[in-house]
C-alpha cells in the first residue's frame, strides 16, 4: 500500500485533495477541508463525476445513489486544471490498495498535478505552468528533502515542455502524461479495465544490491520481473530435482544472465519514475533495466471514431430561446445507447435540441457526417460541420449542435451516419478500407 498526497497545481499555490467520501446527496461537492463551505467550483466537479457526464464514473463507476464530497485544503475558484488531480485522487481511493493521506509527512509519494481529463481519459493542456510552479516553489523545496517521492505531472506537449524549461528544485521527477491509463500504469494505481487486464498488481519489493542504480530503477514492469524470477526458480528447481541422485546440487543458473534485457526504444510516456524505497538485499536479484518500460500496460485508448449524442436542456429558470441565441450554455446530458444502433429516446420539457459529438481520435483521417431526417424537423441538420465533409483530413472532437424547432410538436427521428477513410470521400460513398457507423435517435416533444 502506498500513501499518496495529491495536490492540484494552481496559480494560487498547491491545493491538496485531502479526502473523498460519499454523501447521500444528489450533487457532488468540493468542500474546504472538513468544513461546510461548498466551493463555487462544485458544479464543475459534479459534472466531472456525474454518471455519463464525466470520466470518473466512466472509469470507476457505477456508483450507488448520491454524490461525492471532495475535501480540498484551499479554495479553487475557477478553471478545470484541478481535474487531473481529482481524477488521480479518485483512482487512489478506488484502487483500495493505496490510500490518500491528509498529512504530507505521512506520504510515501507526493503528486502535484495539473491538467484536464476528458470523458475518454485524455489529458488536456491547461497553461500557466510557470506561474503555477512559482506559486508551488516553497512547498516543493520543503518536500524535496523529505523521504517521499515527489512528482510533478503536467499534460504532454507544451505544458510538459514548459515544466521542463522551468528552474525547479533539483531532485524532482517531472512527468508528461497523455492519458490517465498511461499515468496510472506509471504510478501502479489500478485503473478500471486496466486492472482487470493486469494479472498481477501486487506490490512486491524489488530486491537490488546495486545501490548506485537504485535511483533510476522504475517501479513498473514488476509483473514481468516476477514472472522471469519465477521462471528462474522453476528452472533451478528442475535442475535441482534432476540431480537428486546423490550428486552435488547444480549451481543455479545466474539470474543476471537469465534476466538481462535488451535495451529497447524509449517508452511513450517520459521514463522518469519515482525513486523506489531500498528493499531487502539479495545477491541473486537483478536490477531492473529501463527497457522494462516497454512492458507497461497498454493505454486505455478509447475506440475511435466514436459517435455520441447529448441532449441540450435549458437550465432551470431559462428558456430554450436563450440557448438558441447563445445567451446561456445549455445543460448537456448524454444519451445512452439502447441497442447497438439506436440511442435511447429523448424527451423533456426543457429539451431545446441535441448535440452530436463526433470523436475521431488523434490521427488525421477523412470523415463525412450526414444526418437523414426520418420524421419531424431539426434546425441545422442540412449541412454537417464543414470539417466533416469528407474532403479534408481532420482529427479530434467535432460537435454538431442541432435545435428542435420552436413551437413545432411531434416526434423527431433521424439517422446519423459517419464514414471515415484514409482517402478523400465523395458523396458519402464508403471507399475500400473505410468504415461507416450509423445510429438512430428519436426525440419526443
Amino acid at each position: 500500500m502506498t500513501e499518496f498526497a495529491i495536490f492540484a497545481l494552481t496559480t494560487g499555490g498547491l491545493v491538496q485533495i485531502q479526502r473523498i467520501s460519499r454523501e447521500r446527496a444528489p450533487l457532488s461537492m468540493m468542500v474546504l477541508g472538513r468544513g461546510s463551505a461548498r466551493l463555487p467550483v462544485s458544479d464543475r466537479y459534479d459534472d466531472f463525476v456525474y454518471p455519463g457526464g464525466g470520466p470518473v464514473e466512466k472509469f470507476f463507476g457505477p456508483f450507488p445513489d448520491g454524490g461525492f464530497r471532495l475535501e480540498v485544503s484551499a479554495p479553487i475558484d475557477s478553471g478545470d486544471s484541478w481535474q487531473l488531480a481529482a481524477f488521480m485522487a479518485h483512482a487512489v481511493v478506488a484502487a483500495g490498495a493505496h490510500s490518500l493521506c491528509r498529512d504530507v509527512a505521512e506520504a510515501e509519494t507526493i503528486l502535484c498535478l495539473t491538467g484536464t481529463v476528458d470523458f475518454d481519459g485524455l489529458i488536456g493542456g491547461v497553461g500557466h505552468i510557470p506561474e503555477k510552479l512559482r506559486a508551488a516553489r516553497e512547498d516543493l523545496t520543503a518536500w524535496q528533502s523529505g523521504a517521499a517521492s515527489l512528482m510533478i505531472i503536467a499534460p504532454s506537449g507544451d505544458d510538459h515542455e514548459r515544466l521542463l524549461a522551468n528552474e525547479t528544485p533539483s531532485g524532482l521527477t517531472m512527468l508528461g502524461a497523455e492519458n490517465v491509463g498511461d499515468l496510472c500504469a506509471e504510478l501502479e494505481i489500478p485503473l478500471g479495465a486496466v486492472e482487470v487486464e493486469t494479472p498481477e498488481t501486487t506490490e512486491a519489493p524489488i530486491e537490488d544490491d546495486t545501490p548506485g542504480d537504485q535511483a533510476e530503477a522504475p517501479k513498473r514492469g514488476r509483473a514481468l520481473e516476477w514472472s522471469l524470477m519465477a521462471l528462474v526458480l522453476i528452472a533451478g528447481a528442475f535442475v535441482f530435482f534432476s540431480k537428486r541422485d546423490g550428486t552435488a546440487p547444480a549451481k543455479p543458473p545466474s539470474a543476471t544472465v537469465q534476466l538481462k534485457l535488451t535495451p529497447a526504444p524509449a517508452a511513450k510516456v517520459p521514463a522518469v519514475v519515482p525513486t523506489p524505497k531500498p528493499e531487502a538485499k539479495n545477491p541473486e536479484a537483478v536490477k531492473p533495466e529501463p527497457a522494462k518500460l516497454e512492458q507497461k500496460q497498454p493505454p486505455l485508448e478509447p475506440k475511435m471514431p466514436r459517435l455520441s449524442v447529448f441532449e441540450r436542456h435549458a437550465p432551470v429558470g431559462h428558456a430554450c430561446t436563450e440557448v438558441y441565441f447563445d445567451k446561456i450554455e445549455p445543460e448537456l446530458r448524454p444519451v445512452p445507447l439502447v441497442t447497438s444502433i439506436q440511442f435511447k429516446t429523448s424527451q423533456g420539457p426543457a429539451l431545446c435540441g441535441i448535440l452530436l459529438r463526433i470523436e475521431l481520435g488523434p490521427n488525421e483521417i477523412f470523415a463525412a457526417a450526414s444526418l437523414e431526417l426520418l420524421a419531424g424537423r431539426l434546425v441545422g441538420s442540412l449541412r454537417a460541420p464543414p470539417d466533416l465533409s469528407g474532403r479534408r483530413l481532420v482529427k479530434g472532437r467535432h460537435d454538431w449542435p442541432l435545435d428542435l424547432p420552436h413551437r413545432v410538436a411531434g416526434p423527431v427521428r433521424y439517422r446519423l451516419s459517419l464514414t471515415t477513410s484514409q482517402t478523400a470521400l465523395r458523396k458519402q460513398n464508403q471507399p475500400d478500407g473505410g468504415k461507416t457507423i450509423t445510429l438512430v435517435h428519436e426525440v419526443l416533444r
Binding site: R19, S21, R22, E23, R24, A25, P26, L27, M29, V31, R34, S36, A37, R38, P40, S42, D43, D46, Y50, R69, E71, P315, V316, G317, H318, A319, E331, P349, A350
Partner: protein
Amino acid sequence: MIEIEMPDEAGMTAARQHFARLSETRALLDGGADAGISAGRLYAHAMAAAPMPDAALEAALEQNLALRRTYRDFVAAGAIYRLGEVIAASTDGIPPRRGVGCRISVTASQAEADQFIVILELDGGGGAATPAVLVLCDQSDRCHRFPLPSAHRGVIQFIVQADDPILPLLRDPGTEALLR
C-alpha cells in the same frame, strides 16, 4: 437615462453596514419608540431579494404580530415555490417537505458527524425562475431568510453545521418554507 454603477461584493457589504449603522442611530435618536412602519416600507423590505438592514422595521416586526402577518403575506406573495407545512413530525430526523414542483430534504453528512446537507430539488417546470432565498416562517409568523447557492441540474444543495439556525426551523413541522 441615469446609469448607476453597482458596487462589487465588498462595496455592497460596506454599504449595508453603513445603512445599518444609520438605521440604528436613527432608532436610538428616536428613543426606541415605534415610529410607525408604512405599508410601502414593509412591502419593499419583504419583496427585496437581499433587503438592506432596517433596524426600526425589524424591531417593529419583533413586537407587532399584525405587522409580522402582513410581512409574511407579502413574502408569500412573491414566492416562486411554496412548500407549506409538514403534516406530521418525523421521529427520525428532519421531515422532507413537498410543494408543487419542489422538495426540500435534509440528510446527515456521512463524512462529518456535526454536519447536515440541505437539498432543494426543483423540477423547473413552466420556466420558473431559480430561487435565490429560502424563507422559513415559524408559527409565531417570524420569517427567517437563508440565501441559497445557485442551482445545478435542478438541485440546490448546501452544507450546514449542526448548530445552524436553519435546522430547528426545518425540523419544526409548523414552519412554512417559501422559495423566492
